[in-house]
Structure formats: C-alpha cells, structure tokens
C-alpha cells in the first residue's frame, strides 16, 4: 500500500468525489489547484526519513476529502480550495519520495472523476458516491493504522536493524 501511484491516486479520486459537491467554478479552480500544487510538491526535496509522516498525511487527507461526500449542503468555494490545496500538497509529497515523477501521470487523472461524480449527484444518486467514498475512507483508515502496528507489514523488508 505504500509503493507506486496507488496512495496518491486514491487521494486524487477522493478529492474528485469531494469537489463534486462544490459549485462549478470552485470545482474547476480546485482541480487546477490540485494539479499545480501536486506538480510543484513532487519536485520538492523531501527526505526519505519523512515517509511515515508523508503517508500519514496522505491517508488523513483521503479521509477528509472523501468525507465531504456525506455533507448535505454544497461545498463552498473557500473550503473547496483549501481541501484542494491540501490534497495537492500530499499527492505531490508522496510522489516526491521516489525519484521517478511518472506517478503524477497515473494519479492526477483520477481527480477528473469530479465531473462524472457531479453528474451522478445531479441525478440524485448520491448513495453511489457515498459507497465509493466510504470504500476510500476504509482503505485510508486501515492503511494509516498499519503504520502503528508493531508487526512488520508485508511491504517492508524484515530484519534490517
């Protein structure tokens, strides 16, 4: 769960679902902010020793972004932009941990789910978005919890001390 484009892709999907409840202009601006911030952060010199913090930030942001789907009211512009900025930062930060930046190309397109999600919402089928959002939240909570387990998870090499 910590390698490749999967964590930032899940975050991009979560922010896409979250922005679906924002007004058209705010959603578009938020999407642009995610892309610009992620691209900028992906080239930041983030040390590998920060990986635990970066991944925790990524999982927490997935939780926050996907939880927006459960709001009854539409998302206002200011919180939409703040959430987008946050998602862009952590998407880029996770990608900055590896030398190749090609994960950006795999992760960022998932944020474009904002348009199909907005269409589903307009059709009154929010339950579909809620199911998807809950699945993303479950993955994020479980992945974040794994960091705190004493047992060496499957994705880490063992006996390295």
């Amino acid at each position: 769960m910590r390698g490749g484009a999967l964590p930032p892709a899940i975050l991009c999907a979560a922010i896409g679902l979250g922005l679906a409840s924002a007004a058209g202009g705010a959603a578009l601006l938020g999407l642009a902010l995610v892309i610009v911030t992620a691209c900028a952060m992906a080239n930041a010199p983030i040390p590998a020793t920060w990986s635990d913090v970066v991944f925790l930030g990524c999982w927490t942001s997935i939780l926050a972004s996907a939880a927006i789907v459960h709001r009854r009211k539409a998302l206002k512009a200011k919180p939409a932009l703040l959430l987008s900025l946050n998602a862009g930062i952590w998407t880029g930060a996770v990608i900055a941990l590896v030398p190749s930046k090609s994960n950006l190309l795999e992760a960022l397109p998932l944020a474009f789910c904002v348009w199909p999600a907005a269409w589903v919402r307009r059709q009154g089928q929010e339950v579909v978005l809620k199911v998807l959002a809950n699945w993303l939240i479950a993955v994020a909570v479980l992945a974040a919890a794994l960091q705190f387990l004493p047992v060496t998870p499957g994705y880490l090499p063992d006996h390295m001390d």
């Binding site: 479950a138 794994l146 047992v151 060496t152 499957g154 090499p157 063992d158 006996h159 390295m160 001390d161």
Partner: protein, 278 residues
C-alpha cells in the same frame, strides 16, 4: 477483523530474502599502508541499504592479522559517513580478517505467514519444529537477533600462509573457510564449516551471493553432518557467504527465538596499487 484482513493482503507478497548484513570493503586486496573503505550493508536487491545500526550496539570491530595479532578498529568506524562507514589500513603485509559483532538487542516481529515463510526459506528447522510441536504455526513470530560479520582483506602482493581465516574466532555463529580463498593457485572449490556456539552444525543453510548481482544467492547448500558445505566460487568479483541460525529464547525473553545472522565477505578486487598482484 477487517484490519487483520488488510494486513494479510500485504503478507507474503514480498520474497523473504532481504535481511543479510555484511561488511563490504572498497577493495579486498590493498597495498601496505593504503586505506580502503568499510561499509556496513543490509538487505539485498532493491532493499539493499546502508545499515543504520547505532555505534553503541557494535560490541566488537577488530582485525585479526598474521600470527593472530588483533587490532581494535572501533575508532576507525565513522558510521553513516557520506559514502562509507570508515576506512581501514594496515602497515604489515598479510591476510587480515575483519570481525564485527553486535549485541542481540535487535528485535523482529513478523506476521505468522511471513514468519513461517522466513523460517522455511532460511532453513531454520529448530524454530519450525518448535512452532509445529507447540501448535503455534498460526501465531506471529518474534526474535531477538544479533549480527556477526567477517570480511577477508589481503595486504601486499603475495599470499601468506599465516592467514587467520581458517580458524574459528569464537563467534556465536561463524562461517570458517577450510582453505584461504586468497591462496594461490586459487582453489576451484571453497569448503567451509559452520560453527554455532563452538560446535559444527548440520542442516544449516549457507548461501553464496555475488555482491555485484545480489538480488538472489547463486548457490545455497545445507551443511552436512560435519557442518561442512562446499562451494564453487567463480574467479573475480565480490562474494558473500551467509548463514542464519536460531534457538528457542528463554522464558524471561520478550522474543520467541534468539537468532544469529553470520556472514563472511571476500573479493578479488584489487586497489590500483596492487593491480600487478596475482
């Protein structure tokens, strides 16, 4: 339940090969007075990395030279330097054995499936049998473990007969070559004995790894009833022999097992000052 299920999805997806520890020399053949780098490495293939072991856990780092003379080298260790973990140099010609020994305060806790896989892959039969006998094969496995690493370095041009490499040094787990791998003419076969707490052990899995392509060992052999394994070592390159053994931990321990990782590294890389050497 769901947490356990997710945790299990990661379990067993990684091949159990990344945990050997060794002392890597910049050059294994150097001239008298010439320095060569020492790097402490752990893991193989994509997981290979500089060891982050704290200096306080290294109990012994010394060179055993010709005529069994010992030189304490702890002061030459500069852990986590930009490119290596220190430099060693020797004034007198001869073959030296670098010995690094850590305490047993390292701790590992692996999920059951992965722990069983690790025991199987590394041939740790005492632990496998114990877990089967006590019906604990479905339990997570914990170990307290230590590292014992040796590296052979040759100083000067000609091979020397007083090499200390064929004698045990009293490490808890130790690979001891029956012949000096640097002897001339270079032998085609390299027989080694494995000693655990001073006694030869049979059934221990010894692995030979080419350190220039170290994702997988090139040969693995179980020691026979005399504790011996015989390898064919190709000429040239950098090589690692390693073995792991374990015993059931005492009831007072937090861990299930006490495990020892042992390695012996050597190579045929010459410094520029010894290029003309055989």
């Amino acid at each position: 339940m769901a947490l356990a299920a997710l945790a299990m999805t990661g379990v067993g997806t990684r091949a159990v090969e990344a945990h050997d520890f060794w002392v890597q020399l910049g050059d294994s053949w150097i001239a008298p007075g010439e320095g060569t780098s020492v790097t402490l490495l752990v893991g193989h293939g994509p997981d290979r990395q500089r060891s982050l072991i704290p200096a306080g856990r290294i109990m012994r780092f010394e060179a055993v030279g010709p005529n069994n003379l010992r030189h304490d080298l702890r002061s030459s260790l500069q852990l986590r330097g930009p490119r290596d973990d220190g430099t060693v140099a020797f004034r007198d010609p001869g073959t030296y054995l670098l010995v690094l020994q850590t305490d047993a305060r390292a701790y590992s806790l692996l999920p059951a499936i992965r722990f069983n896989d690790y025991l199987q892959v590394e041939g740790l039969t005492p632990a496998l049998l114990y877990r089967e006998r006590t019906h604990r094969t479905n339990a997570d496995g914990s170990e307290a473990y230590s590292r014992q690493a040796k590296a052979i370095i040759h100083v000067g041009a000609a091979p020397y007969r007083q090499a200390p490499v064929t004698r045990p040094l009293g490490l808890p787990l130790e690979i001891v070559p029956d012949i000096d791998p640097y002897t001339e003419p270079r032998p085609k076969e390299l027989p080694v004995h494995v000693f655990y707490r001073g006694r030869p052990i049979s059934g221990a899995l010894v692995k030979l790894t080419d350190l220039e392509h170290d994702a997988n060992p090139i040969e693995t052999i179980l020691t026979d009833e005399k504790g011996q394994a015989v390898f064919y070592v190709p000429p040239g390159g950098k090589w690692l022999l390693n073995v792991i053994w374990t015993q059931i931990a005492p009831a007072s321990s937090d861990a299930d097992f006490e495990t020892t990782f042992s390695s012996l590294s050597f190579g045929y890389t010459h410094s520029s000052a010894t290029k003309s050497a055989p």
